[in-house]
Structures are given as C-alpha cells and as structure tokens.
C-alpha cells in the first residue's frame, strides 16, 4: 500500500470504502508535478499510525505543495489530529507511532525525526486545544514560540503577531492560563507564527472563536500563505476550510475517502451534507464515520424525568 503512488495524489477524488463518489470531477494533477512536489512541499505516502492496538490512520496519501493551503475534513475521531501529530513528530507523546509509510518535507524525511528537529525544519504545529503555557505570561508564551529563531527576527515576528491580535498586547503580562478560551486560541496561533514557519499545521484554529475572530484567522491564513507559508489546515468549520484551501482531503475512520480541489469538494453533495451540515435529512446517518458512539438516534429518544 505505502509504496506505489496512491490514488490520493493523482486522481481527482478517491473513492474510499463505503463512500459514494461525488458527482463532480476536478482536474487531475499531472505526474511531473508530483515529482517536483515531493522535493518541494509536504508529502505523505501510505501513512499508517497506531496507538498501541488502535489503528488511527491507514494508507493515507496527502500532499501540500509549497505555498499552498490544504484542508483536512473529518468527523470527530477520524484521525485529523493524528495526522498532524505524525507530521510534527509528537505521536510518541501519546504512545502512538508511524507503523508504515513516509512523511517528507522539502525532500527530506520527517518520520522518525524528533519534534524539536521538525520545528527546526520550519514545520510548526498549532496543537489541538490551545495548550498555552498556563503559568507563564502571554509575553513569555510568545517568547517560547520564538525559541527556535534568532532574537532580531523574533522581535519582528512579535510585532506582526501583536498587531494581528491586539488583545495579546493588552494582556502581555497576564498569565496565559487566565485568558479566555478565545484569547488562548489566539495566543496559541500567535505563538506558532513567532517561529516563522514555512509549513504551518493548524489543528482547528477557529475552535471557540467568535465569528469576527474566526474570519480574522481566515484572513491571517491567507496572509501568511501569500507570504509563502504553506498551510495544512484541520478545521471543523468546513465552509471556511474549503474557502481557504486549494486542495482538500476528507478523512473517515483513518482513511482518505475523498480528495480533490477544494471547490469541487465544496460542491459535492456528500461533503455539503456531512461536513457543511447542509440539507441533512433528520433520519439519515453519516455512513462510515467513526463507528464509535458518536452518532446515535438521539433526536428520536426522549429522556424521562427522574423521580426519586
């Protein structure tokens, strides 16, 4: 599986097990690009990841050409975060490991490389769920973000981040743990930008952000992308993600079941129904998503009152 170029790269959209092919078809990507891409951006081939017994990813092919934005959609538990962990080398913090396949960036392999080294290659992740350093001040958090870059550049980066998120400037000396959820999210993103990444991995950046702020993040992504940073975006807000990305991938229970130009995916009924929540009939259940308990027919069931 891992060896040969999986359908994820070449073909317009993949037909994964248990998924109907969406109607529309986008232009395929020619082979030479693939070659050049492999030397250039992020290239994931035949990736399998396990957490002990749990297999979280299976035969995933994914590519983020330099200077582009790719989006990953998927239900809870589909493996999005796992995918990013596999790239950023933080799987080991969760007793997980890449069991087959390769992850390459800028032509050199990332799999098996410790997280710190990955960062030094310019691949920076905004972890899921903020993860700010609660006991350190906002300023110190930003400082921590810039640990991998020289002082002068750090100062410049700091400027940019603070104008992007003015509130961080106001709160510079407050302890990050006391920030509001959204403020923490901003700090987390700002902290990542401090490292001047050439590939930015965003795990649900707009989580808990107000609409205005979410839009702001979207613009930010466009900006830094315009400045040449490639972005791998995991986002539950599918509409936004598809709007930002050139190319999108749909993960279901650890497999890429759908991929292609974002526009095409945005147009596909499948995606519209499941990830944009558009026109989803009450009765219909998403097929093939995490077999876990996530989906239940709760709209039907009523809960009786508790009488002692």
């Amino acid at each position: 599986m891992s060896g040969e170029a999986g359908p994820g790269i070449g073909g317009p959209e993949t037909v994964g097990p248990g998924t109907a092919a969406p109607g529309t078809a986008g232009p395929g990507i020619a082979a030479p690009e693939t070659v050049d891409r492999r030397s250039e951006g992020l290239d994931i081939r035949g990736l399998e990841v396990r957490y002990g017994p749990v297999r979280a990813l299976r035969g995933v092919h994914l590519a983020v050409p330099r200077g582009t934005v790719a989006a990953v959609l998927g239900a809870n538990g589909a493996g999005k975060t796992t995918l990013l962990r596999a790239v950023s080398g933080t799987l080991r913090f969760h007793r997980g490991a890449i069991t087959s396949g390769t992850v390459a960036f800028g032509g050199s392999r990332l799999d098996g490389v410790p997280a710190a080294a990955v960062v030094r290659r310019g691949v920076v992740q905004v972890p899921e769920g903020r993860r700010v350093f609660a006991r350190m001040t906002v300023a110190e958090n930003l400082r921590a973000g810039a640990l991998s870059v020289p002082g002068r550049r750090a100062a410049a980066a700091r400027e940019r981040v603070l104008e992007l998120f003015p509130v961080l400037a106001e709160r510079a000396h407050q302890r990050a743990g006391l920030l509001s959820g959204g403020e923490q999210q901003m700090l987390a993103i700002g902290r990542a930008l401090m490292a001047e990444p050439s590939l930015l991995l965003l795990d649900e950046p707009t989580l808990g952000l107000a609409p205005l702020m979410a839009a702001r993040i979207a613009d930010t992504v466009r900006q830094i992308n315009a400045q040449g940073t490639s972005v791998l975006l995991v986002e539950q807000n599918a509409a936004m993600a598809l709007a930002l990305a050139e190319r999108a991938y749909v993960l279901e229970v650890g497999e890429v079941t759908l991929s292609g130009p974002a526009a095409d995916l945005a147009a596909s009924d499948e995606v519209r129904r499941r990830y944009l929540g558009v026109g989803m009939p009450e009765t219909d259940r998403p097929v093939g998503t995490d077999p876990g308990p996530a989906q239940q027919r709760h709209e039907r069931t009523r809960l009786a009152r508790w009488t002692a």
Binding site: T81, R85, H94, R95, E128, G129, R130, R131
Partner: protein, 363 residues
C-alpha cells in the same frame, strides 16, 4: 465483552481468595517466629499502605507524614490501655479514632494544600511528632518509649504467657497475633475497596483529576480532602496499633521519616490507587530488607559483615532503591498492575497511573 471477562474472573477470584485464606491459616503451624514476625510487619505495613494509597493514589495528595499517624495509633493504644486502663480492644479502637482526630486537626492544611506543598507540609508532622514523642515523657515515656500491654480479646491474651499449645505447636504471641493481623488486614482492605469502588472513590478520583469540575459536580472538595486525610490517618493508626503489639515496646525512633518514605515506596512499587497494589508493595518493601539480612551469609557478591565490601544491609538498601526505580520505569501501574495485566482483569483504580492519552489533553 468486559462483562464476560468479569464473569470468568469472579469465580477465579473467589477460588484464589479461599486458597490464600487457607494458606494464611496454615502458616503459623509451619513457619518459625522470624517468619511470623516478618509477616506481621508486612500486614501492618499493608494496612498503613492502603491508607496512604487512598490519599496519595486515589486523591492525588502526597503525604510524607504517615509515620506520625502510626505513632499516634501506637502510643494512644499504650496510653489508653495502661494509663487510662481501658480494655485493650477498646483502647485499640479508641487509638484508631485518636489517629483520625489528629488527622482531622491537620485538615486546615490537608484541605487547602495540594501535591508537593502538602507533601512537605506533612513532613512537619514527623519532626514535630518526634519532638513530642521525645519530650512528653509522662505520656510517651520519652526516648526509651513504653511497654505495650498485650491485646486481650475474649479471654485470649496475645502474648507468650499463658502458654498455649495448638496441635502440639506452642502458640506464642506471634502465632496468636498472626490471626489478629490477618483479620485486621482483610477488614481494612475490604473497607478501602468499598470506598474506592463507591461514591466517595469517584469523588476522590475527580478531585485528583479536575478539582474545579469536582466542585461544580457537587463534591465539597476541601471537606473531601480533609475526610480522606482523616481516613488515611485512621489506617495509619491501625497499622501503628498492630506494629506496637508486635514490638511489645514502642520507641520513638521507629516512627521517623524513613518510615514515611517507605510507605510512599510501597504504594509506588505496588501500584498507585489500588488496594491490591498497596498490599503487594507493603509486603515487598517490608520483607525485602529482613530477608536479605537473614540470608546475608548465603547471598553472592555480598561480603561478610564487618569485612568491608557491600554488606547485607547495604545490599538490601540498594536492592530496595533499585526496585523503586525499576518498577516505575518498567511496570507502570506497579506490581499489582503487572498482575492485573497478566490476569487480563483491569481494575479502574489503576488506569490513571498510565499517562493520559491525547484527546483528553485539550487544555
């Protein structure tokens, strides 16, 4: 499927329990004093360890002061029975209660402090306790301590005299105490199990994992912290009474900091948060040095005492230290955890010892 596992496990458990019990009863008829005494030390340790495991393991409150509560238990027993002339069983019960109360007096600290801070704050109990033991002579007998009146239960005296012979085995104090020890340990273990499995156990674990959430879910956090502290002190007290009965004389030096550290080692080696773990760990920690000392002559690489080189006692210490380290490195969940994994019966108290997986950490 887990249910299935359980249904298989239950009869197994029962059989195991019966076997263990039978063995326990048989022991005094075959083993000599040294072993009985070692066993009794282990039982007392186990009781104490269960107590501190409720505190440190299940509620996440570090305590270095456990030895103090053993002292309170032991000395209260002596004082109440010989000075106030309480009947010994009553004195024992009262002693446990006194230990609980002294734990309660500490609750302003125990309720408010967490983790390392509480841990070191409880060190104060040791040092202040030692000071009192040495200086409050009328009660404690000062440096040379006090003789311990033997327990007397339903006319049976737990001492060498009057002579008693069962199946032509002379039943001295150790043989008699053995059964008392077994009973106390079984009781203590069962109780702790109930607590951990029941409503309080959940509250304790949640306080450990997420204090604020616990409060919001209706758990009176401070009161629970204090409550668990009291409970664990009572376990300490009971352990103290038992150890006093074995020693026949309480001396202050015994209840020092090393003892407290031993208790922490026990629950780590055994397995944090679980009753079984506490017992296994206690047995390991309290038996190891005694065995090594006893078989010092037989041990390889261990030099003849006084002849320089690694002496038995040193070997014991080294092994002990190594064991603590090794267990944490290679057996997350401790010896009990290992047993569980071998028996493929997982116990919920044990899980937290393994570090939390990803999605939980959305902080």
């Amino acid at each position: 499927m887990r249910a299935a596992l359980r249904s298989v496990a239950r009869p197994l458990r029962a059989a195991l329990c019966i076997a263990v019990l039978a063995a326990a009863v048989a022991v005094p008829f075959y083993l000599e004093g040294f072993w009985l005494q070692a066993g009794l030390f282990a039982m007392s340790a186990a009781i104490g360890a269960i107590g501190i495991n409720l505190l440190t393991g299940a509620t996440g409150q570090l305590s270095l002061g456990h030895a103090f509560f053993l002292a309170v238990g032991a000395y209260s027993y002596v004082f109440l029975s010989s000075d106030l002339g309480l009947p010994t069983p009553l004195a024992a019960v009262a002693a446990v209660i006194v230990a609980g109360v002294s734990g309660g007096l500490f609750s302003p600290i125990a309720g408010r402090l967490k983790g390392a801070y509480l841990g070191i704050a409880t060190l104060a109990l040791i040092f202040v306790g030692q000071h009192i033991l040495f200086n409050a002579e009328p009660v404690t007998g000062g440096f040379n301590g006090r003789p311990v009146p033997p327990m007397e239960l339903f006319g049976l005296v737990f001492a060498d005299t009057p002579e008693l012979v069962v199946l032509n085995v002379p039943f001295g104090s150790l043989e008699r105490l053995w059964f008392l020890g077994i009973a106390l340990l079984a009781g203590a273990a069962a109780f702790a199990r109930g607590v951990l499995r029941g409503r309080p156990g959940l509250a304790m674990n949640t306080i450990r994992d997420h204090e604020i959430a616990a409060g919001v879910m209706g758990v009176p956090v401070a009161r629970y912290r204090a409550g668990v502290f009291v409970l664990s002190s009572m376990y300490g007290g009971l352990a103290g009474v038992l150890v006093a009965l074995v020693f026949q004389q309480v001396v202050p030096d015994y209840f020092g900091m090393l003892l407290s550290l031993d208790y922490l080692a026990m629950i780590t080696i055994g397995g944090l948060g679980s009753v079984a773990g506490a017992v296994v760990g206690a047995a390991f920690v309290s038996l190891l040095p005694q065995l090594l000392t006893r078989y010092s002559d037989a041990l390889p690489l261990v030099a003849e005492p006084g002849s320089g080189g690694v002496s038995p006692a040193e070997a014991a210490r080294i092994l002990y230290g190594a064991a603590v380290v090794a267990v944490v490195l290679f057996l997350p969940g401790g010896l009990a955890g290992l047993a569980m994994r071998l028996g493929r019966v997982r116990s919920k108290e044990l899980r937290w010892a393994k570090s939390a997986p990803a999605p939980a950490s959305r902080r």
